[in-house]
Assembly symmetry: C2
Homo-oligomer: 380 residues x 2
């Protein structure tokens, strides 16, 4: 397969910008990435977005964003894979370039979640679960994850204190990220004492509902050097699915979609977990951080939380994770998250980040592990 | 670019099957296409769907359908391009195979529109228009198309009688299609005298709100012969966008997205309009049939309706169109329509259809021409 490289990145600050609409944010990040790549046109736009139909009464995101970004009659469509839409869109972008159909592709992830009232965002997010067997009964994503957390704590005799290491780490790393939503450190006590959302999960273990957009410009590795001295090479890009319903799995404390996507991406890249120097985990909930580390091959089964609690995921640790604040502190505008991860990894690889790395990995989850993309990036 | 071929096709009957859910229909067509290709596994599933979030409170269609079709931990995601989602998904499928990322891909288009109450379907469909400048003011798709129809009739001095040739032709062709929603012929008087929906457009000029799913299995041209003696070759596949708002265009009686996608597909295939022997037009409204014929290069400007009224689009005519009933009579389950067109064209090329053709074209429109895909297929 033709090798692909990232030549431009950009994003909006994550937050609740009531003065910006969905299209405003998508155009802002698309233009930022194009400016970073020093180009004024792309051949195609692929949009990662989960639920603009429900959140914003707006479909046709491909044409909408291409139109408002002034890109004219290019090729454009939206890719959906729930909260993993951004990673799925990036995977589609890699195919678009590798196939030879398009030379230069912009992948823009965007979600505008805060324009709906009250609990509606939680209801809309539950559409990522199985409507006929899960969400129709009133279960929310935090509820599903809380059950997984309880099982994990029981199976592996893990304390909540160890899982708190994930939000503590993400908040610490967000302080220096001007695009992050929560730029303040938090202590373990704050996590433990925050309001209960779904027992045993407390508020400070959960990523926020927020708005954001992030974009990456990609082309072939061969052409990349014409655009930049610091291309970031896509060494592996894989997307895998699992049963949509959690009840249909043999285990809930491991996600087969992560394991299979990681194996595929490692195979594509010829790399193994020991080659990876930094990881953007999908830490939408603290428990997802622990399971992610294990499924990706960085920690033994049941030891992911311990790995984090020992300080190994901090900047300066053995495997810096969520170096720009992760989903918990940078924020989790669902369809955009996969792209935020990719541009943050790219910054680290380009020497513009907070970690000096040659090679990194991003994991983006949709649903309760029903769609997972794993992307391995390396220095050009 | 690596050449791609269709090795299996399948679909459900179009209609209002209240005993089948979204997933039932998608699995039914996916399995039908896999059975037709005589395969029991694919490497990836790409789902074309417009608004399952609003219609069915269900996102994550990639994992949902892969799961319920028993496909396991494959790669899967959804593609959205409004009513052009099916054609856009097919275009993404071509990239998936041509890139070498996946050997065998199933592209399934599905839409379950009739499970919502009253006028809600019209409201949901309006999300394909520009929310901030069009649909928020109450304009519906039939309203937008009626304005285009009026302008077209004024500019080119065209009578409504001529435009009626499109629904009359589609209904005639649906009689022999067991998957069609309306299998009865209609006369021009019935179209003219049907209830006014949006002046000057009457009910029998408009495609119905309905449910359906259609699937195509694709692989490389090289591998296709291992699976079938009658592969259908993808000679051209192009997707282009235009301004989402109709008011932002220089003209409304031609769709630039169709023109640019057609030019691109003709260039890819090395073919011209005179080589095309049958066309699946996006006749969601009679006016779209006329403008489609012109934009695709089959009729002169302002002469598309006349071309149809002279009987040239009938089976046995110069250019048989909508040979299985088109959107008007086979039905228009929006995200599935692009795939219905592709499998109907494939039937004609495989000698299992109603027209003996070596080469055909399908045009799938999303929004009011804001997303258009053009696919050119040929005999293997």
């Amino acid at each position: 397969m033709e090798e692909v490289a990232i030549i431009g990145i950009g994003c909006t600050p994550v937050g609740e910008p009531w003065h910006k609409s969905l299209r405003n944010m998508a155009v802002e990040s698309t233009w930022a990435a194009m400016e970073d790549a020093a180009i004024d046109q792309v051949d195609a736009l692929i949009v990662g977005n989960m639920s603009s139909g429900n959140f914003n009464d707006q479909e046709s995101l491909g044409s909408l964003i291409a139109d408002y970004a002034g890109l004219g009659n290019i090729s454009a469509f939206k890719v959906e894979g729930a909260c993993g839409s951004g990673g799925a869109a990036f995977n589609a972008g890699v195919m678009a370039v590798a196939s030879g159909m398009h030379d230069t592709v912009c992948v823009t992830g965007v979600e505008k979640m805060t324009d709906v009232v009250g609990d509606n965002a939680t209801k809309i997010l539950a559409n990522a679960a199985d409507r006929e067997y899960e969400s129709i009964h009133g279960i929310s994503f935090v509820g599903l994850n809380a059950m997984i957390m309880r099982r994990y704590m029981y199976d592996y005799n893990v304390k909540k204190e160890d899982l708190c290491a994930f939000p503590v780490n993400s908040h610490k790393n967000a302080v220096h990220n001007k695009y992050a939503m929560f730029r303040q450190e938090i202590k373990m006590d704050a996590v433990l004492n925050s309001p209960m959302v779904a027992d045993p999960m407390t508020l400070m273990e959960c990523a926020p509902i927020c708005d954001g957009a992030a974009s990456a410009i990609i082309t072939t590795k061969e052409r990349a050097r014409e655009y930049t001295d610091t291309p970031v090479i896509v060494k592996g890009s894989s997307l895998k699915v699992d049963t949509i319903g959690v009840h249909d799995r043999k285990t809930v404390t491991s996600m087969k979609a992560t394991v299979t996507a990681a194996n595929d991406a490692y195979k594509q890249s010829g790399l193994s977990p020991s080659d990876i120097q930094t990881v953007e985990l999908h830490d939408a909930f603290s428990i997802m951080g622990a399971i992610g580390l294990e499924d990706l091959g960085f920690a033994e089964r049941g030891k992911g939380a311990r790995f984090a609690a020992e300080g190994q995921i901090g900047i300066g640790g053995k495997l810096p994770c969520c170096t720009f604040g992760g989903l918990k502190a940078r924020g989790h505008p669902v369809g955009a998250t996969g792209l935020y991860q990719i541009i943050e990894l790219s910054k680290n690889l380009r020497g513009e980040g907070v970690v000096d790395a040659e090679c990194g990995l991003a994991q983006n989850i949709g649903g309760t592990g029903s769609t997972v993309s794993v992307t391995i990036l390396g220095r050009g």
